[in-house]
Symmetry: C2
Subunit: 317 residues, 2 copies
Amino acid sequence: MSEFEFITRITKRLSRTANERRDARGEVAEKAPPDFVDIGPGDDAAVVRAPGGRVVATSDLLIEGRHFRRDWSGPYDVGRKAAAQNLADVVAMGARPTALLIGFGVPLETEPEWAERLYDGLRDECDLVGAAVAGGDVVRAPMVILAVTALGDLAGRAPLLRSGARPGDVVAVRGRLGFAAAAVGLLSRGRDAPAVLLDAHRRPRPPYAAGEEAARLGATALIDVSDGLVQDLGHIAAASGVSIDIDAAALPIAAELGAEGRTFVLTGGDDHAFAGTFPRETALPQTWRAIGHVVAGEGVTIDGRPHGLTGWDHFRQ
Amino acid sequence: MSEFEFITRITKRLSRTANERRDARGEVAEKAPPDFVDIGPGDDAAVVRAPGGRVVATSDLLIEGRHFRRDWSGPYDVGRKAAAQNLADVVAMGARPTALLIGFGVPLETEPEWAERLYDGLRDECDLVGAAVAGGDVVRAPMVILAVTALGDLAGRAPLLRSGARPGDVVAVRGRLGFAAAAVGLLSRGRDAPAVLLDAHRRPRPPYAAGEEAARLGATALIDVSDGLVQDLGHIAAASGVSIDIDAAALPIAAELGAEGRTFVLTGGDDHAFAGTFPRETALPQTWRAIGHVVAGEGVTIDGRPHGLTGWDHFRQ
């Protein structure tokens, strides 16, 4: 199969989002471009609307064996997750995702069907937020490689940075914590993981509404929890020149996480919850859970004490 | 060296463009953000200006041993070339490049100095067009991997697509053709290549002004010549539903290309020249060379006859 045949085949998987709207029976109801993609795959570059006059852009490089395992996750879930983690980064800036670009490295022996299911996953995750795969590149590679770039629009708002937290702010999270890490903890010891954990590992469900909601609520900082809560709050603390104190009793530690639940919640990434800081007087809706507060100083403490926990280092692990 | 230490080190190489302006002696003259990057590396995502209300976006995945060889090119040239080929794709839409995102896969044994030189190359190529590296991702990988995304702005103009060529249009090229392919032809046979060819292979010099110039001249289609002139004109022909006839006598075949010059010019990529179609009455400046014309039909011919040439297939070669 040549490059062009392969690209044609996987590009077709994107057409539901890129070119068609389907009715409830799956029939093509209308041909319409997605909201933001003016020029999709097939030219020298894509053209994506940026109505706010600025574009939010982020990219991740995912390598088989390091960031995903084909024996732990099927292609559809790899696609969903690869899209999710980049869409979540756009949302963490307070923006609405508009498009993905996908660089896809394909081993010679890869079945076209495997690639098609991967692109189905990318497309379906994009559909959750009204974004679409707008372009990319397909090359031969020694292992599966996914280079995902996500774009987003701020609708004229200021971005929610890591650097805006101020002493007195409330720290709150929205989304699940520790589920994916608990699954990996079990799988890497060769043990079965309960379905709820396995699902969380294979297909994170970032609460995508969190970004625009946090912006509306007046958040002073926002981050996607991908390296672990303590480490990611540490990024906010460092960027803002403040300290963050976590209230251990307020942490959402789900029973499903088992005996090590507290550690998974504090150090596990990959659930793509969002952590933000809000002015003290903010009336937080129930979707957000207050777990601590911002104080003068530096670093992250738990109940006022040093935590001694280490987070995720993509180089060492 | 941890991920954060490594990222801090390479991010510093970007600071000349991202944060500082230097005077003639290399001293920091002023701290200023680059023209288009509002938020650069260090947050969940970058924020890049898109004053035209749309963003042009393209990405390439480059894998060591396949797209570059560390024994043929040093890190600085790998960086220059990786940036150039993506900036050229933005220019081929008639847009001005604004920013790059870099996904960088790093083998464990890679010297930090090698990575720094790579980022120097990325930065310096961006400087040629007023763009900057706005963000990205660094991960451990079994070989060097570069995932490059380039963004650009159309300043409110319509993009120059592959699909706009019309019978009667003149076909013209701007930039060198065949130089990089001639170098690879010699190197892959274990022979020395003259400096002018070697330089062309290591560090393409796309004529970046070509995109906005073509737009001003009223080009009906534009493409970055990366797969070979015949194949890339074939993309315009297919997308536009027309045929393109090349006038063999008009081809710019440089003497340095040697006995196989004609083949290198017709099938060699990687010089990142631009090929466009223009209404017949266009007064082309000397920077553009007319090499053929658009006729009704399909495919690409040379002097009215089928060419029998094959172009570059990234999967097969």
